[in-house]
Symmetry: C2
Subunit: 309 residues, 2 copies
Amino acid sequence: MSADLFDRAGALFRETQESIIGALESLEAQHGDGSRFRRDEWTRGPESNGPITGGGGLTCVLEGGRVFERAGVNFSAVRGRYSEEFARTLPGEGLDFAACGVSLVIHPRSPRLPTVHMNHRRLSRGATGWFGGGSDLTPYVLDEDDARHFHRTLHDACARHPAVASYDRFKRECDDYFYNHHRGEARGLGGIFFDYLTDDPEETLAFMRDSCAAFLLAYLPIVERHIDEDYTDAEREWQKLRRGRYVEFNLLHDRGTMFGLRTGGRVESILMSMPPEVSWRYAAEPEAGSREAALLEVLRTPRSWVGAP
Amino acid sequence: MSADLFDRAGALFRETQESIIGALESLEAQHGDGSRFRRDEWTRGPESNGPITGGGGLTCVLEGGRVFERAGVNFSAVRGRYSEEFARTLPGEGLDFAACGVSLVIHPRSPRLPTVHMNHRRLSRGATGWFGGGSDLTPYVLDEDDARHFHRTLHDACARHPAVASYDRFKRECDDYFYNHHRGEARGLGGIFFDYLTDDPEETLAFMRDSCAAFLLAYLPIVERHIDEDYTDAEREWQKLRRGRYVEFNLLHDRGTMFGLRTGGRVESILMSMPPEVSWRYAAEPEAGSREAALLEVLRTPRSWVGAP
């Protein structure tokens, strides 16, 4: 029955991958240059380095599109053995693990379009399994309507499953997790983040289904609102600097990236999260009163986006 | 006497900083656009966050030069208290620490000019002090004469101080340290790297003096040889991709970056090591038989650059 749940979760994640790829390709066809995803199927044999010893995945990457400068939408279902040290940090017994999930990062070309990250996964250690995941938004200029729409959509997906999901808790966990401690600022405007959901697997799977579906409902309208806006070179420069912060978070702080690289995951699939063009500049600060400065203020003091305005 | 040694080491590092800044500005004046270093003096009071509670430094950054796209040459002399956990990994007793050093990363604009890193430092825990440091070269195309010249110069500095320095050991430590484990490739062509030199402090200080001086002797002739070479857009693209590997090393693996960020060091001074313009692209591989492919081969199988040809 747990194996059955793993397979059903895997099927959901695989379908989610296809529907997101379809939506992004159709946006690129309508507003861009018709770029499509490259698809790389991969398998890991028992001879592979690292703890992952079986299974595989489908890495899908679109690069150089007019709308999407770099988008990776990955599915994987692997099994293997945890290290003793790593296993100690997890629920369950023993060292056997299984993991399946869908994971994406979208870096649009225009600085008017936010970067977005989504991940939904099922993990197990021995006979104990749990769900985890979330979605979060990283814009380059502050648009409060976008932030409210994104959070409201995720809020509603949680609200349909009160037995297993809590928007307030998942929003707080997201703010705490996607935080660049060394900079004293959030990576973006947050969203929801949750892990170790072990109770009531059937209801949690139903929530995962809603949460996966909520992703496109939350993100696409934001893209459609801003996709035809012009932008300046200065906005593009600012985007590249902020993408540097994205890199800093993912390489310095992200447990998912660490987990993948340490368990012998496929490097090019894990690091598809890196933005395509990035800058660092010494002590760069936006002009006072600019939209960029307004964004920084919110990143330094995360806000509530749902509820009384 | 140990305090005296700390001050004399500090004076050496500060002089080294000035002479390197002078040499880089003069190259920029002769071959570039006359860009100069911006100088930021900073101090940390006892009220500061993190274990560093006193001292300060001089961060010098040149950005947007025609020759040097981004160069940071930093001096600092700080004191504070280690965490218990961190202190356990170090020689000496107690939690008091003092550190002074000079640290630089130079990212030239032209892909024909290698990136270079150098760091020389004195650290102490309680009454125990030690020296550490090194220099290493990260080119974007393979030029074997450059590699031999760089290593030979560092070799000769070590050879003048056989009681405290060993090129063979320091070269091996450099290859081991500046290694992108997740990629299975070295960051660059190496150089020398050493730490915890506690014996014979006077002779070690003499070696540090030679090693600091060797940096310009090792690097400048390489810059002068290639500074007027033309390069293609494809070479520039390759450089930006390889700079991505530099970022990966510094944020995923570098203990110096971690140490700085965790002890409450000055973020903009620590992250001046980040390259100015960087790219990531999915599964990018150079053309077989190209100079770029030749470089990758050497990064995957580090070579000896001194001795019988």
